[in-house]
């Protein structure tokens, strides 16, 4: 089955990102396809490479980046939600006159149309949030 995934909550405060990650990993292990993981609302904060969690805790952002590299996942951060919350890639930083970018490897910034497209193209769109 082809899954689209929507993550609506940020890392650590809420378990949604952890559960989505475990779901994606389990689905891939069973031979399913992940069409796209879309990050919306505070979920965009899963894509900042500047998190430094304690060493005895899981690194949620790094874990997504590694899974994306391993399985060529399409991790998409909503541009409108990202701009509100200060998540930038290089070109967005330049376009908005900011002095830094912070997007983690394996993530890309794009529009909400990517979420709708995931809903259209996937057999199931699974929402992780509150």
């Amino acid at each position: 089955m082809k899954f689209g995934i929507l993550v609506n909550e940020g890392p650590y405060t809420h378990e949604a990102s952890d559960t989505a990650y475990q779901f994606v990993k389990a689905a891939l292990a069973k031979g399913h396809e992940i069409y796209r993981v879309f990050f919306y609302h505070d979920g965009v904060n899963n894509g900042t490479r500047l998190t430094v969690p304690p060493q005895d805790d899981r690194n949620i952002v790094k874990r997504w980046s590694e899974l994306a590299a391993e399985h060529k996942l399409d991790l998409v951060v909503c541009i409108a939600a990202a701009q509100r919350r200060g998540l930038m890639d290089k070109s967005e930083a330049k376009r908005n006159g900011k002095d830094a970018d912070n997007i983690a490897p394996g993530f890309r910034i794009s529009g909400l149309g990517q979420l709708i497209e995931a809903g259209i193209q996937s057999d199931r769109l699974v929402v992780f949030g509150d």
Binding site: Y40, H41, L125
Partner: protein
């Protein structure tokens, strides 16, 4: 119609709004998805459950909160061909509201009918 749109698959999308309009950003960002999604020519419906019914109430005044009153945007949905708005009867009644308190025409349905509406969807986005 959607058949003309080669390559696209028309699916039934339901946006479920469960939260009050202010206090969190979920309601506004949900509406942003609806407005973007309208361009994709899918079969779109909106559901309002629980405190989500407050999103549609008339006379919202957000000046003191210093946030934007986005309730007028619901009146623009018709221009995007988004006309199926379902409001949970029990949620309205529990809050002392009726259809005449809302900014747009809606279909008031009981929880059982709402469950049937959800059952008929391809994609449900819950905010």
């Amino acid at each position: 119609m959607t058949e003309e749109n080669a390559g696209s698959v028309a699916k039934r999308f339901l946006y479920v709004n469960r939260r009050a309009p202010y206090g969190t950003l979920y309601a506004l960002e949900s509406l942003e998805v609806v407005l973007i999604g309208a361009a994709f020519e899918q079969d779109v419906s909106l559901a309002f459950l629980g405190d989500g019914v407050y999103q549609l109430t008339k006379g919202q005044d957000t000046k003191a909160l210093e946030v934007k009153n986005f309730s007028p945007a619901f009146r623009a949905l018709e221009d995007y061909d988004v006309t199926k708005l379902y409001v949970e009867k029990e949620a309205l009644e529990a809050r002392g509201l009726s259809e005449s308190d809302l900014v747009v025409p809606v279909e008031v349905v009981d929880a059982e009918r709402m469950a049937e509406i959800m059952e008929a969807q391809d994609v449900i986005l819950s905010f």
